[in-house]
Symmetry: C2
Subunit: 210 residues, 2 copies
């Protein structure tokens, strides 16, 4: 049988808030059960219905700090006083088992993981490229309408989110791929296409990335 020699890869799906990232990732979960989906660790308290090890790993502040000091997070951030981070060990284990990894990250998190991979030693399975995909709304106007329709935020919060989205969208050049989420079905078709294509890409040996 003829097969394509390939390394397992880390796919990052990243987007400004309100661009539809979670819906798109849920569709990926359904179509690609072979992926390893990372779970974020956090110090914030579980909300009703949230399950430890499924929605998040809920850690004490102390344990989070200990793991952080041990270099256990590929990226981490403080949001509203709570710590969030992407654990490294399960990702490395999955890659060593030959599984692709999917990480759902914000723009800052994506930048941190990309940087980790860039600096990773040749024997680190993350030395091989991360494939980062940026999902963006068709326009700031559309994003504004979506946030208003969602009805979860005050006008002030919406204005803040829009300003943040604008700053994040300006960083599109850092990514390898960009998908505009205008029509959800079309955006998903493009997102899955990127994953299928990357799985059929021939990597020049010794180049790692590109």
């Amino acid at each position: 049988m003829i097969t394509i020699p390939r390394h397992p890869q880390v796919f990052i799906v990243s987007a400004p808030s309100g661009a539809g990232k979670t819906t798109l990732c849920d569709k990926l979960y359904a179509e690609f059960p072979d992926f390893f989906y990372t779970i974020t660790s956090t110090t914030r308290a579980p909300r009703e219905g949230e399950v430890d090890g499924k929605n998040y790993y809920f850690l004490t502040h102390e344990l989070f700090q200990k793991k952080l000091a041990e270099g256990e997070f590929l990226e981490h951030a403080i949001v509203h006083g709570n710590l969030y981070g992407s654990p490294k060990t399960p990702v490395i284990r999955a890659l060593k088992e030959g599984r692709d990894v999917l990480m759902n990250l914000d723009v800052q998190g994506a930048a941190a993981v990309r940087e980790y991979a860039r600096r990773a030693a040749p024997d680190d399975p993350m030395h091989h490229e991360v494939v980062d995909i940026f999902v963006v709304p068709p326009s700031l106007e559309v994003l504004r309408n979506r946030l208003v329709r969602r009805g979860k935020d005050t006008e002030e919060t919406i204005a803040k989110r829009l300003k943040q989205a604008e700053n994040e969208i300006a960083r599109w050049k850092e990514y390898k791929y960009m998908v505009v989420n205008d029509d959800l079905a079309e955006a998903y078709d493009n997102l899955r296409a990127i994953i299928l294509a990357e799985r059929h890409r021939i990597r020049p040996e010794g180049r790692g990335s590109s």
Copy 2:
């Protein structure tokens, strides 16, 4: 509106004889009517039902040689004493109009066009990368069965074709993508995914290829 800045690209679909390239390209024609599909020039006589400017450009030997001397072919080859070549002018025109181009080429032709693009001057629209996709049968055994079932070739011709296919498949590393055509629907899904993905790829400026 947020859009992805992109250059029109040249997609090459290439395969050993019997791998299903023509069927796959016909499906691409149907799904992507916005592509410019190149037509091969040849000195061989038209077969029944073949239309000049549709199936081939039928040229006299003299005219073909004149165009060849003028550098009008991106690639050319002699098969059974007849000349075949891919005209350059329509490809350049299509790229300048902003259209993607699809070329259906054999392995030698793909190598020649890839080399042309590599050496193209920065103001040549083909300076930007060609995306070459290699379609291969799942195994030589399967290819053999397909050629036998097709019933068009003698056993000697089949043996020759298989030997040639084996030599061609050994060149898979020259390509950017490889698609194994085991199940036709799946192979097509992967082929179209590569086109969609490349259209959503962000090209680092000044790098052209990557």
